[in-house]
Symmetry: C2
């Protein structure tokens, strides 16, 4: 019998306990050891829970018990998860987690501590919920150079955009519905402002390129400013708006990494990833495009990914898994202003002809997009590739001339 | 330096040599060891090849060289690949392969020999080419009970069906085009008769349920009898025809496993998997539906999967990977006649009214499907779920009454 502990008895934590308990036998067969739960750490009380004898409020109970070999950290947040994880690894316990915030901000350091102590730090559940992505990227695609990773990484915003696209629901109404259905939290900022997707693309980028990419260096933009007009123009253009986390290596070895809403063509594999689903495309030089698709969140999918990592730790109590990236700095990331892409612009235009005339001088090869039921005093167009700096300058010049720009959305090459 | 050998210098074998050579450095970093190629086994000569010094025609050179720790068997076919693999494993060499025929027919035995000799037998490349599927199923979904696996597992037939659906091309013309483009072999039987897809679903079923499912017990039907009329009816019904390999566990613990063309609804994730692409859906009890999508064949995708397995073997020279299933027999598989599903029937009908009257007595709840440009003397309908035996009896009765049945196609629940 190998003992584990679960830190945090929220949605994911209770799911982990449930999966470990309900699938006890088949898990033992796969891990070649029975896996018991010795402690569940939570500051709250859970009267009536069948796991009464396992609850503790003291982290030290777990830390000081040498029988506990694997710890699932499913508390979320950086503190105190960071300190607890560090101490467990230093004590020779393997740690598995679904905590994307911690992995995205402290991954390199924790992976180094795990290595120094010959234990594992695994985090399959931190990206894509139950979709296998961390392990396929680190193992199955090991013989590839990763050219690009792009994905719909946040189910809440994808649900909101799907409602806007399919049912013409406003952002506010769609958000309210997501909250009613339990897909969005009461404070939805981490989702709708793109922070959650940002953490996930940082984890995928670190894994793909071997150096830690920190969220603070990554341009991160959410969906709060997307309007139904933008959605309609995207349809006229032949696509949909999705919140995309994307990273690709540029010729100068820096990374073009961003989270932002993008126009993507209907024919793209990611265009049909709807509702709360996630889809992640990995472009390898040998393997071509490989797409992973499934529910990106939820109690049991995420818990099953955590438990798969626990099983893997138990199977690798002696031989360490190779999952590692080095520390990295700001120089890894191409400054956002210097990145380059075609863009969609929507502007107020009492005199469309005149505004298009100006746009033609300021933007690279603008082409007007028309749609039915468009307001009479607006003009929308798409451009060729321009740097963000050039886009910003052009917009500033338009606005100096009294033309208000209402939307600017990246056009993806997906 | 760890030495490998490559057996077979065809499309995949030359790709393996190419990937190992071109990515030498990054592979060394990932494997934590340099990986050299010591031998390439092929009965042919390759004058002018830069790997001249590595070619051998004698398998014993590889077998008797204790420096060779990992062997890539990319010869294809059961003989002599079976004997070579067995001998290598018995000599303590790990073997990796893309040979689905060998894994599907001898997998349990070879996995047992690998276990007994504390080495690895890995075959990520045998299903889905460069799409990671074997490892995600065996590791990432380890905490799931697999409810169902269904996939488009053969790129050649998917290309042919896509041409029939999109361009109204006949089966014969589409096959000829596939041959011209190098997607189909001159003798296309293994693809178009469903044998290739059958081997792959057997491998996935063995992995999912832990016991070897042999191809000879699996109902296997190809696409050679699919007509443009069937394709048009599928469109009227609201879907497409795809060649699906599918396995699900029934309540009596037997497996409903089959390869056959099926009607699938347009909204299914697999419906949009077109051309030479493969898509595989794994339905887990915890994780829900997870879909893997990408190019299912091709030199470099397949070679990169083989090389990823080589890297994994090098990282696990001492600790064995857990990839195993036990032997299995005919009793695992529900006899095809006893399986049950709704079906599409197309019949000659000079008097539609009369034929539909008969059908209503013989089939469960038949509903007529109409389509534009249908021949006047035919009737098409779909039924509720019936066992195959019941379907066959009903068809026999129709034919006794002089009604010729031209098509019978399974309607999937995907």
């Amino acid at each position: 019998m190998i003992y584990s502990a679960v830190m945090g008895y929220g949605v994911v934590g209770s799911g982990v306990v449930e999966v470990l308990t309900d699938h006890r036998e088949s898990i033992a067969k796969r891990a070649k050891e029975e896996i018991g739960i010795k402690y569940i750490l939570d500051i709250r009380d859970f009267p009536g829970s069948p796991f009464q004898d396992k609850f503790t409020k003291s982290f030290d109970d777990i830390l000081n018990d040498d029988e506990v070999r694997v710890v699932a950290e499913v508390m979320g947040g950086v503190n105190p998860a960071y300190e607890f994880t560090k101490k467990c690894l230093e004590r020779g316990k393997s740690v598995v987690t679904s905590n994307k915030e911690l992995v995205a901000t402290k991954g390199a350091e924790l992976l180094e501590i795990a290595r120094a102590n010959n234990v594992n730090y695994l985090f399959e559940a931190s990206v894509g919920g139950g979709i296998p992505i961390i392990r396929p990227m680190s193992q199955c695609l090991a013989a590839n150079e990763v050219i690009e990773v792009a994905g719909i990484l946040n189910g809440t915003t994808n649900f909101i955009l799907t409602k806007m696209i399919r049912e013409n629901m406003s952002f506010e109404d769609a958000l309210r519905l997501a909250q009613q259905l339990g897909y969005a939290e009461r404070n939805p900022a981490a989702d709708v402002e793109g922070l959650d997707a940002g953490r996930k693309i940082c984890i995928l980028a670190s894994l793909a390129y071997g150096k830690h990419v920190y969220p603070q260096y990554v341009h991160t933009q959410g969906v709060t400013k997307i309007t139904l007009e933008d959605v309609a123009y995207a349809a006229s253009w032949g696509g949909v708006i999705k919140l995309i986390g994307q990273v690709k290596k540029l010729e100068d070895d820096t990374l073009d990494i961003t989270v932002e809403p993008m126009f993507i063509e209907k024919s793209s594999q990611l265009a049909s990833v709807d509702d709360v689903f996630n889809g992640i495309m990995v472009r390898g030089d040998a393997t071509g495009d490989v797409v992973f698709y499934g529910k990106g969140a939820g109690k049991l999918p995420t818990a099953s990914a955590v438990v798969a990592d626990i099983i893997d730790c138990v199977k690798h109590l002696k031989a360490r898994k190779y999952l590692y990236w080095a520390d990295g700095g700001e120089e890894l990331v191409k400054p956002y202003e210097e990145t380059s892409y075609p863009v969609f612009i929507r502007a107020e235009a009492d005199d469309r002809q005149a505004v298009f005339g100006m746009a033609s001088e300021l933007f690279r090869n603008p082409r007007v997009i028309v749609r039915t039921n468009a307001a009479e005093n607006e003009l929308a167009f798409v451009t060729d590739e321009m740097t963000v700096k050039e886009q910003q300058n052009a917009i500033a010049r338009l606005e100096e001339n009294g033309v208000k720009v209402m939307s600017k959305i990246r056009i993806s090459d997906l």
